[in-house]
């Protein structure tokens, strides 16, 4: 079952930017694209854990700020020659607020 949790206003995240969500176990990052889509991923690149929230967002991709891996915001998959995947979480915008499905986060924590 989904547990939609209000994270904050959409405007708190810059277009083509991201903010960190402190979460149990691991920080997450919520991204906003130029056309106001939002995505939530674990805030760590599969390669050496670079904080993806600090990367450059282009289209629905983000580039790892430390080593330039390019990660899909939609699937969490590394692009190109790189192999790896970041966990993604359901997130949506309603009434200008960002809602994150936190059920799997707490499950992860429990597991």
């Amino acid at each position: 079952m989904s547990t939609w949790t209000d994270i904050g206003p959409l405007d708190a995240v810059r277009r083509r930017g991201a903010r960190i969500i402190k979460a149990p176990g691991q920080d997450l990052a919520v991204f906003r694209t130029i056309d106001d889509q939002v995505f939530a991923l674990v805030n760590a690149c599969p390669y050496r854990q670079g904080p993806l929230s600090e990367g450059i967002v282009h289209g629905t991709l983000v580039t790892d700020p430390l080593y330039n891996w390019v990660i899909s915001l939609e699937t969490g998959e590394a692009q190109g020659a790189d192999e790896g995947r970041v966990d993604t979480f359901p997130v949506k915008v309603e009434g200008g607020r960002i809602l994150l499905d936190t059920s799997s986060i707490y499950q992860r924590q429990a597991a």
């Binding site: 904050g8 149990p24 050496r48 990367g55 289209g59 580039t63 700020p65 960002i98």
Partner: protein, 811 residues
């Protein structure tokens, strides 16, 4: 026995035939017809006549006295209308009949007139002969002219009229001028030069009709409805071989009059020469091959053996004041490749077209000095594979006994590391090549080699060359990134010339293939835009690397380092205390004295940044931009205040320089140093800008390096006063900011444009130097602000997490 020779047309080709025939002293009875009411003149010099640099008399090559002296009967102002090739007679429009033994067509070309409504109005001219030229010369200052056609002739007409103070507009159908010879960025260069002459240029403009009043031209109307008022309209849209007379009289014609290698037409005793002919499918538009034809024809008429071979032609074209050179064949083709060199700052563009290791075409704009050298190689079919890498730089860069760099790479074992950054060995690259990678991009994508610092890309390319052999072509102009096919240089040029002032404008106008760019192009575009349009463009933090977005250096664990500025490497006990306090307060794990004469606080948490900055700001310190493609440090030595060898106040000058230059964004980081004497304790001779004080003043060096490459500075100038140092350093910063490719340090950029050019601009040319300083100041008005203070004041929340689910979970 005297033979009767009749020539139709007294243009440049006919003139040359006559020169050869009369020199050879053969026994001829010559009659020369010309529809124009005059003999031969140097048609290509009509432009200087138009602009007023020459008189018509000066360009006449054959005057009445000459014809009389050589016994040539002239029928000027008489048009030949009919030929009876059975009776061997020509008839003129004056009713005359002239018999011939040999007949030569030298009818040249006719300007093409678009048959749009109004084309027959009074005041509509072409640009072909003296009458056209005189019509244009009759315009007086302030009158208006429209030129249809942005090719060579149209532009010459425009420039010539503009030189007389006429208000000229050029209307060109294609997207850029001279599209056959120049590509878009170069076309823009030309356009800019013309606009500077006061000419209005409208590209992608389709003419609809010519409007008139009382039978006289009044305006040109474009198909979007725009009306361009004019007193004269010049149509310069191309030429067509003049073949009507030949065709009507049974000669074989295609686009031109068919001739064989002896210039014989399909009809006995009739020859043709010049622009009216078609030889082996080629037609002609420049004089060089026509002169070859004239020589051949003269010999053939004399009964000697000769054959015409169409050779590659070159032209140094001059659109009054713009140097252009073109030679050979430029058409695109799968079997051809281009080598392109551009120097936007100097307005230089060079393009070579290669096919099977030979140059088949060359186009140059701005700097045509090497034109003949390339032309020679085109003619000789020189194999250029040996000098391919430096070919475009011209003969000055050739010669010497360059050893084959490939043999060394070929000899490397498979486990030799090629890319240090990513630990990729030769074997990995070869494997990737065997799996289908054929260029640097593909290697980058599949192995990561050369994807980081890039210093290994040359080696990777050599591995490609060795492995693929002839299948590999060394890349020339690398596009900026996958989002565009344009190079950095192209993009910079287009941003300036098209006045693109926002990122969407760039991406739209230049056809970006992605919706909002990528991490490679966006930081570069952001830089180009803010450097070129400081007052219009709004800096985009989302297009900056994290370090420049968060004004601190990101560490491998995601924390940051904080480096306050210490102007000229000077600090005070108070500053040191404030740094120490901040280190304690924010639990900074590491404090390091940097190689740049200041102190680095490493391991600061992202959320603490605004707070630590505020504390440092309160103690009077600003960001040291240790993270920026901008001014980093100005190192100094203690200088004459303390040191027994010091000649000048090196510390004071360093501080002044840093105070003037800090805050500005640059293509890559910029570091300065000032040493008090040639012992050079501040290491000024390996900086981007380095000053060494001497008894008589200051030695200013630029383009040094001490990172991935180590390079001594080159001397820009020796000056006597601090003010001159400040001026030259500022001007150098700005010229570098305006021209360099993003991520080229000054030494890389100077290697491309040449120190001499830089000197010409900022040392020799005081006006340009001052203009650069002025533009730097305008930019500093906007960008010399402490980002720490700004961020701490109103963007601090961005450094915090948006939400904390840990607390929630605990609740």
């Amino acid at each position: 026995m005297t033979q009767k020779l009749v020539i139709i047309g007294a243009g440049m080709a006919a003139g040359r035939v006559l020169d050869h025939l009369t020199d050879a002293g053969g026994d001829w009875d010559i009659t020369l017809f010309n529809a124009e009411p005059r003999g031969t003149y140097n048609r290509i010099m009509l432009s200087p006549v138009l602009s007023g640099e020459k008189t018509f008399d000066e360009i006449v090559t054959h005057d009445d006295a000459w014809y009389a002296d050589k016994g040539v009967a002239t029928k000027f102002g008489v048009k030949v209308t009919e030929i009876d090739s059975a009776a061997q007679i020509v008839r003129g429009d004056d009713g005359s009949e002239t018999a011939y033994d040999k007949l030569v067509f030298a009818t040249g070309s006719n300007p093409f007139i678009i048959p749009m409504p109004g084309h027959d109005l009074d005041g509509v001219v072409a640009y072909r002969d003296l009458e056209d030229t005189e019509a244009m010369m009759a315009l007086t200052e302030g009158q208006k002219a429209v030129v249809i056609g942005g090719g060579l002739l149209g532009l010459e007409a425009a420039a010539g009229m503009a030189a007389r103070g006429v208000d000229v507009t050029v209307v060109h159908l294609m997207g850029h001028l001279m599209e056959r010879q120049l590509d878009e960025p170069a076309g823009y260069l030309l356009r800019k030069a013309l606009v500077d002459k006061g000419i209005t240029v409208k590209c992608s403009a389709n003419s609809k009709q010519i409007l008139g009043e009382n039978g006289k031209v009044k305006a040109l109307q474009l198909d979007d409805g725009t009306e361009l008022p004019c007193d004269l309209l010049c149509m310069a849209v191309g030429i067509r071989p003049s073949i009507a007379l030949a065709q009507e009289n049974g000669l074989a014609v295609g686009r031109g009059i068919h001739v064989d290698d002896q210039m014989r037409t399909s009809v006995e005793n009739i020859y043709a020469v010049g622009e009216c002919v078609e030889h082996n499918g080629d037609i002609f538009g420049l004089v060089a091959p026509l002169f070859d034809q004239a020589k051949v024809l003269a010999k053939v008429l004399q009964g000697e053996e000769a054959e015409f071979v169409n050779r590659e032609v070159s032209t140094k074209l001059k659109v009054t004041g713009c140097d252009l050179f073109s030679a050979g064949d430029f058409a695109d083709g799968d079997d051809r490749e281009d080598i392109v060199f551009r120097d936007p700052a100097r307005g230089v563009y060079k393009r070579l077209v290669l096919k099977e290791d030979k140059i088949i075409g060359a186009v140059m704009y701005g700097d045509t000095a090497d034109g003949n050298w390339f032309y020679g190689m085109i003619k000789d079919g020189t194999d250029v594979s040996e000098m391919r890498d430096t070919l475009i730089f011209g003969p000055a860069y050739q010669g010497g006994t360059a050893e084959d760099p490939l043999s060394a790479v070929a000899a490397l074992p498979d486990d030799a590391e090629i890319c240090g950054c990513n630990g990729v060995c030769k074997g990995d690259i070869v494997k990737a090549i065997n799996a289908g990678a054929t260029d640097l991009g593909a290697i980058k994508a599949t192995t990561k080699a050369s994807a980081s610092c890039g210093t290994c890309s040359g080696l990777v390319e050599q591995v490609l060359a060795v492995t693929l052999g002839d299948d590999f072509v060394m890349p020339t102009a690398e596009p900026m990134c996958g989002c565009t096919d344009l190079t950095h240089e192209d993009v910079r040029l287009l941003i300036k010339s098209k006045e693109l002032k926002s990122m969407p404008a760039v991406m739209q106008e230049l056809g970006w293939k992605t919706s909002c760019g990528c991490h490679v192009c966006r930081p570069a575009l952001n830089y180009y835009l803010l450097a070129d349009w400081p007052e219009d463009y709004i800096d985009d933090p989302q297009s900056r690397f994290i370090n420049e977005r968060k004004h601190a250096n990101i560490q491998k664990d995601g924390t940051y380092s904080v480096v306050p500025r210490m102007f000229g490497g000077m600090t005070t006990p108070d500053e040191l205390r404030a740094i120490a306090d901040a280190a304690d307060k924010y639990n900074v794990p590491t404090v390091h004295v940097t190689g740049g004469q200041r102190i680095d606080l490493l391991g600061v948490k992202g959320e603490d940044l605004p707070a630590i900055w505020k504390d440092l700001n309160d103690a009077g310190m600003v960001s040291g931009h240790a993270y920026a493609k901008g001014l980093r440090t100005v190192k100094t030595c203690v200088g004459k205040d303390h040191c027994r060898f010091g000649t000048q106040d090196s510390t004071g000058l360093g501080i002044k320089l840093e105070k003037a230059l800090w805050g500005s964004w640059t293509p890559h980081k910029v570091k300065l140093a000032v040493s008090g004497c040639p012992r050079n304790c501040a290491e000024a001779t390996c900086k981007d800008i380095g000053v060494v004080c001497v008894d008589s003043g200051y030695q200013i060096g630029v383009a040094g390096a001490a990172g991935m490459d180590v390079k001594e500075t080159e001397r820009l100038a020796d000056v006597a006063t601090e003010q001159e140092v400040m001026d030259l350093a500022t001007a150098f910063m700005q010229i570098y900011r305006e021209n360099a490719k993003y991520l080229d340090r000054p030494y890389k950029w100077v290697a491309k444009v040449g120190l001499d050019w830089v000197k010409e601009q900022i040392v020799d040319n005081v006006e340009e130097r001052n203009a650069l300083i002025e533009r730097f100041k305008i930019s500093q008005k906007i960008y010399q602000k402490d980002p720490w203070a700004e961020e701490a004041a109103d963007k601090a929340d961005q450094y915090e997490p948006i939400a904390n689910l840990v607390l929630e979970a605990a609740e």
